[in-house]
Subunit: 176 residues, 2 copies
Amino acid sequence: MDTRTLCLGALSLCDATGYDIKKLFEEAFSHFFSAGYGSIYPALEKLTEEGKVSCRRQEQEKRPDKKIYSLTEAGRAALVEELVNTPPREKLRSEFLVLMFFAHLLPPPRLTEMLQQRLDESRAVLKILEDLDRREGMPPGIKFTIQYGLATTKAAIECIEAYHESLPREVYGGHF
Amino acid sequence: MDTRTLCLGALSLCDATGYDIKKLFEEAFSHFFSAGYGSIYPALEKLTEEGKVSCRRQEQEKRPDKKIYSLTEAGRAALVEELVNTPPREKLRSEFLVLMFFAHLLPPPRLTEMLQQRLDESRAVLKILEDLDRREGMPPGIKFTIQYGLATTKAAIECIEAYHESLPREVYGGHF
DNA sequence: TCGCTCATGTAACGTGTTACATGATTAA
DNA sequence: TTAATCATGTAACACGTTACATGAGCGA
């Protein structure tokens, strides 16, 4: 599943510009998918060529023109087909865990710093998810992705905190 | 952080062949990193050129020759430097959650099947981790990666099971 | 006999990341 | 004045995935 499919998915929710889609990716999809402009804009162009999305140009004062994309019927069909044929995989790529795996090779202050950074980022993700969780009227599938994100992120945070508790304070300074 | 660094890491544990490294990736690293032969063998070759690993050939009867790689001092230094300079990121790529996000577009039987598949795979990961967890004498950093994997995987499984409980049984058949 | 394990590798392909380029508006 | 937001895009590069190629031994 690539950025193109995710763009179709985003447009199945509502019409949007490339810029809007990027923002959606950073909010609702942030904990399980990411893509930059470098893959979004080319994706939208290709989808337009293939007739899966249509594009209308909206002029703006004081701003560059917007290109607002809409899902076509062909696009919706392509999206559904892609979804039905995609196996429900999940792959984590964690530099953090690699670092922890080789923690014995790292200077202790670096280890502490690293744990703190990961904790900060995890808490930031948690915050985004908690905000999403407060919104109402979402389909159960979307709610599920939020619950799943909340549950796994909380588990991760607790795990890091527990590890911290186990670090000898007199060695590592104790401020965390 | 790429396959090359992970190969250095693997070789910091003990000498190994490309084949051995792949197996290590599938066991100890499976829940946070993956790589196929297509990236491991070229990585080892390049590391040899760079003097970060050395290679001795072991002839075998009845088997093709083995190439056993060892980390050099330069390689160990490169590994540590890479580790120290790598930010502790973590990125999930979940086709499963994408599918769930757009669950309202899927036929209900496909949804059920999908949940079952993910549950099976998560339980398989859990089993690997539980086996690892039984081993003794591991450095705390490695133990941590296992605990982290266990905690997040259990959270994910509980989440899927809870969602299943909420599905109306008369509609979805009730066997899960 | 079938499939798994051991063992190495190549080549094409697909995909994403990063840095660059542009530029006005607006809130702090 | 600084940084952020809005808004689009390109090009080079890095990287990983997949399929292919080879082949013997061994246990069920």
